[in-house]
């Protein structure tokens, strides 16, 4: 297999672990850590040559980040 496949898998595992058990338990830390497995999944999709999956996943993960940022802002205002 290609090296990016394994790099993607390692990034997925690291990112998931770090998001589930962050060093300081804040929403912001978890939100930023959530981008690490996103990049890992992107590398795995890249190693299988799925262009459409790549483009869709990039767009949707940014949208998710935006929605979560709005949610955390609203929650901190209360």
């Amino acid at each position: 297999m290609s090296p990016e496949f394994f790099a993607g898998l390692i990034l997925l595992i690291i990112g998931t672990w770090v998001t589930a058990f962050p060093r300081d338990r804040e929403y912001l830390t978890r939100l930023i850590n959530l981008e690490i497995p996103a990049f890992g999944l992107l590398l795995v999709a890249l190693s299988f040559d799925e262009t459409l999956a790549l483009l869709t996943f990039i767009a949707v993960s940014t949208l998710t980040t935006f929605v979560l940022v709005l949610l955390i802002e609203r929650r901190s205002q209360e």
Binding site: L28, L46, L54, T62
Partner: protein, 82 residues
């Protein structure tokens, strides 16, 4: 895709290592700004891997979208500092 040379494979491994180092540091750092910079390092490691495969269009879209999500998170970082 043709057969890659040995130097090319070494370069690919190097970029994979850059992405992994960025991922490790993004998970390890505590300062949100340091985390964002580490995520930029992951992006820097991933971009050549995408271009080597020939997906220049995906790379162009990614170059627009990664800073966008960084800007979103940066808004939240500023609010948290105040």
């Amino acid at each position: 895709m043709g057969r890659r040379g040995r130097g090319m494979n070494t370069l690919l491994l190097l970029f994979c290592a850059i992405a992994l180092i960025g991922g490790l540091y993004a998970g390890y750092a505590r300062d949100p700004y340091a985390k964002l910079i580490a995520i930029g390092i992951i992006g820097g490691g991933i971009m050549p891997l995408i271009i080597v495969r020939g997906y220049v269009d995906v790379a162009a879209a990614l170059a627009l979208i990664i800073p966008l999500s960084t800007i979103f998170v940066l808004q939240l970082c500023k609010k948290g500092a105040e």
